[in-house]
Symmetry: C2
Subunit: 244 residues, 2 copies
């Protein structure tokens, strides 16, 4: 793991870009942090990247209000990573099939399953590396990810015993039910009631599939990208409750 930027710092939060070949990532920690602390890994949405505004806003709040470390990485083919020919070809094919009237959900599900085969080992390696840093250490780990970050997050959380709590959402059972059934940690699951990408029944079925004794579905009106701002408050409290 190699830091590629000087530590930049604003409003009490340090930001460090890093490479863990082939992964490009960013780590946020509270200014002046020393010693172990909870760590939250965040998965970004489709077409977004490790420093998308929503990711940065959540990371800053978790660092400032909870004293947590937060790490986010570019999914293959996203952000500062090179184009991925296989994923690009598949994405183009899927778009053509959707335009020809094919159902969107199964196409998304297939695509995410393929990408997850790459990201699950990458993200586990990132946890290994980041937890070796003195100002992060081996505290409890959380995961946050919606949409693509849910499709990739469910197999990651199922595979990674260090994750103790996760916020997931905007995903459906078609992609993720089998892995979800292996997850037993507390889950906060976000669903958009009028989601134009994930059919409501698919989202409800994914919530149903988690084996967790504590899981909480938060459903709000609006389309896929219209999640209300107050859910960020809830996310912060959820992680504070389970990781602090």
């Amino acid at each position: 793991m190699r830091f590629t930027s000087d530590t930049s710092s604003s409003d009490g939060v340090c930001e460090q870009l890093f490479v863990l070949d082939p992964v490009l990532g960013v780590l946020w920690t509270p200014e002046g942090a020393t010693g172990p602390r909870p760590l939250v890994l965040m998965g970004h949405g489709g077409g977004q990247h490790k420093k998308a505004p929503g990711i940065v806003a959540r990371a800053r709040r978790l660092a400032v209000e909870c004293g947590f470390a937060v790490v986010a990485v570019d999914v293959p083919g996203h952000g500062d990573r090179p184009k991925d020919e296989e994923f690009d070809r598949l994405a183009t094919e899927n778009q053509a099939r959707a335009e020809a009237g094919e159902e969107l959900a199964p196409l998304i599900a297939g695509f995410q399953a393929l990408v997850a085969r790459r990201t699950v080992p990458e993200w586990r390696a990132v946890l290994d590396a980041v937890q070796r840093l003195e100002h992060v250490g081996t505290g409890p780990v959380g995961y946050w990810g919606v949409s693509l970050g849910c499709g990739l997050g469910v197999p990651f959380v199922a595979a990674e015993p260090r994750v103790r709590a996760a916020v997931l959402g905007l995903g459906g059972a078609l992609a993720s039910a089998e892995d979800a059934a292996r997850i037993t940690v507390p889950i906060e699951f976000l669903l958009q009631w009028d989601d134009e990408r994930v059919p409501r029944a698919q989202g409800l079925a994914l919530f149903d599939a988690f084996a967790s004794a504590e899981k909480s579905l938060h459903a709000n009106p609006g389309k896929h990208a219209e999640m209300p701002a107050f859910e960020l408050d809830s996310t912060v409290r959820f992680f504070a409750r389970h990781l602090s």
Copy 2:
């Protein structure tokens, strides 16, 4: 309105029992309160009463943490109110029909609709009276009620323009969808995923029916009476956000 108890006070909260014939109620306010403040009316569950432990716990937190006034009253035939022959006969009939294999939800729906014809005007009169008190005044009003408190709360919130936000839940569309469609204030709606009294689809359909632009469904695993304790934190924050 006549107070029937001396003001008793503990841990910063004053409690006053009152009569507003035929209603018996209890009012909680922060110790030393003067001047207008937000007011939350709470409806208790079936077979419970105005001072059920869950009602008291919520009332104390809203008074201490938010400085709100909280009022709860006995539903006819409940708590310290005399038995109601009509409701008793109906409840006995319903129990027999349920034991004979009839579906529970329509029986509950019919019963609650009948009781609501009595409680809606009673609760509106309680608001009138309590808001005339110097230490309550005419601030914004909220409503909290689940189960029977939802069945009676939905028609109340639909009828009462002073209510600006409501926490409802453990109720189904069969009883309440028509009134719910007239509600436009922010709603937090609690649903138990394995509710043995309200079929899941009925609960989801009631959430769907609210006309509110801001409404948030919180669904958790467990049966009708197994709502997790952290939802109380969420209730307090919801009212603080909308009434403060």
